[in-house]
């Protein structure tokens, strides 16, 4: 047996609370949510109240400024529970980090705290019906028009697609420029 050394005691305490939350708030309802094709929207707010969404978010935006091992603990426990309806990983590990790393101060102030609370559910629209692995070949366009972008195209396999309040859309602002014409728009 090789003991795991990556986690500290605090992570294991956190793990116990995540596990209990999943047992009480998720597992009893998951079968119904499978029939519904989505989890209860309120679950996101409950998870947010417990600090299970975007634990690494800065404290000024209501996060715990935790290291990514807390995300890993949540991922492991969700995965272990078999409750595959939870799209927390996409939200916490993937989408909100784009806001944290590339967002303007105004964007961060507007969105991150709500993402931590679960008031905003996020998704990322990357894959298209005609382009799977070929990210450089995406065809959704965002063409500048006055103070706006006008977006046209379609995206598929979007996790959290129904609950999402905020979507990062991968699109071409310069359709002729290949990878260099790719931008991310909220």
């Amino acid at each position: 047996m090789i003991p795991r050394t990556v986690f500290e005691e605090e992570h294991e305490m956190f793990r116990s609370s995540v596990r209990r939350f999943l047992e009480e708030e998720v597992m009893p309802y998951h079968a119904q949510w499978e029939k519904d094709g989505q989890v209860d929207r309120e679950l996101w707010r409950k998870a947010g109240a417990q600090g299970y969404l975007v634990p690494q978010a800065p404290e000024i935006y209501g996060g715990a400024e935790a290291d990514f091992r807390y995300n890993a603990v949540i991922d492991e426990e969700v995965s272990r529970s078999g409750c595959t309806g939870l799209g927390w990983g996409v939200h916490s590990d993937i989408v909100v980090p784009y806001l944290m790393n590339y967002g303007s101060t105004a964007q961060k102030e507007r969105y991150i705290a709500a993402c931590v609370r679960g008031d905003i559910v996020t998704a990322i629209a990357m894959t298209e019906p005609g382009t799977g692995s070929d990210l450089q070949g995406i065809r959704t366009t965002a063409i500048a028009d006055g103070d706006d972008y006008v977006i046209n195209g379609s995206k598929t396999f979007i996790t959290n697609g129904q609950h999402a309040d905020l979507i990062v859309v991968v699109c071409k602002t310069d359709p002729g420029a290949g990878a260099a014409g790719t931008s991310l728009i909220l």
């Binding site: 050394t5 990514f68 890993a72 995965s79 990210l135 977006i151 598929t156 991310l184 728009i185």
Partner: protein, 177 residues
């Protein structure tokens, strides 16, 4: 993943204000490349946790299930299979934990993250497949967690970059000058 609200989205002349641009125009691809390692490690981490769960469920099952008058856990084939799977899982977990340490230190590179995703998701699918086999017919019944694990695991080799894309990333790095 029947409780996942995974969807198709259509945009038809959707107007968004220019201030909704994330970061700089034209940098989207670079941002994606920067962020994908974390996503890929997350998939690897989840693969390990799911694998541990299904392996434990299978161990419990083979101790209960009897065939030819005794628990199938007593058969050498069962023990050999479990031994192989547990050995692979134990070693992969060590690798995954090390990758997590590197990520926390800000030192997980794209190639290593791709290895984590490739190794984790492929191993998960192999483990789940063998666990279905050890369950026999019940392994194919939706009421059994292993059947769900079988269905749910398969996409792990596809989303977040397919196994083939992971191999491309790793392979290119090996032959780069």
């Amino acid at each position: 993943m029947k409780a996942q609200d995974t969807s198709e989205l259509f945009f038809s002349d959707v107007r968004v204000p220019k201030e909704n641009l994330l970061g700089e125009e034209g940098k989207g691809f670079a941002y994606l490349m920067q962020e994908l390692p974390q996503e890929r490690l997350s998939i690897g981490i989840m693969a390990m946790a799911a694998s541990h769960t299904v392996l434990q469920q299978t161990i419990d099952y083979v101790k209960e299930r009897k065939a030819f008058g005794k628990p199938i856990a007593t058969f050498q084939n069962t023990q050999f299979k479990l031994a192989e799977l547990d050995t692979e899982l134990t070693s992969a977990q060590v690798f995954m934990d090390r990758c997590l340490e590197l990520l926390v230190q800000g030192e997980l590179d794209t190639v290593t993250a791709s290895k984590a995703k490739l190794l984790g998701s492929e191993l998960q699918c192999r483990i789940v497949d063998e666990c279905v086999q050890l369950h026999g017919g019940y392994g194919f019944m939706w009421e059994y967690p292993v059947a769900r694990a079988f269905a749910d695991s398969r996409v792990q080799r596809i989303y977040g970059g397919t196994s083939e894309v992971m191999k491309l990333i790793i392979g290119r790095s090996l032959i780069a000058d």
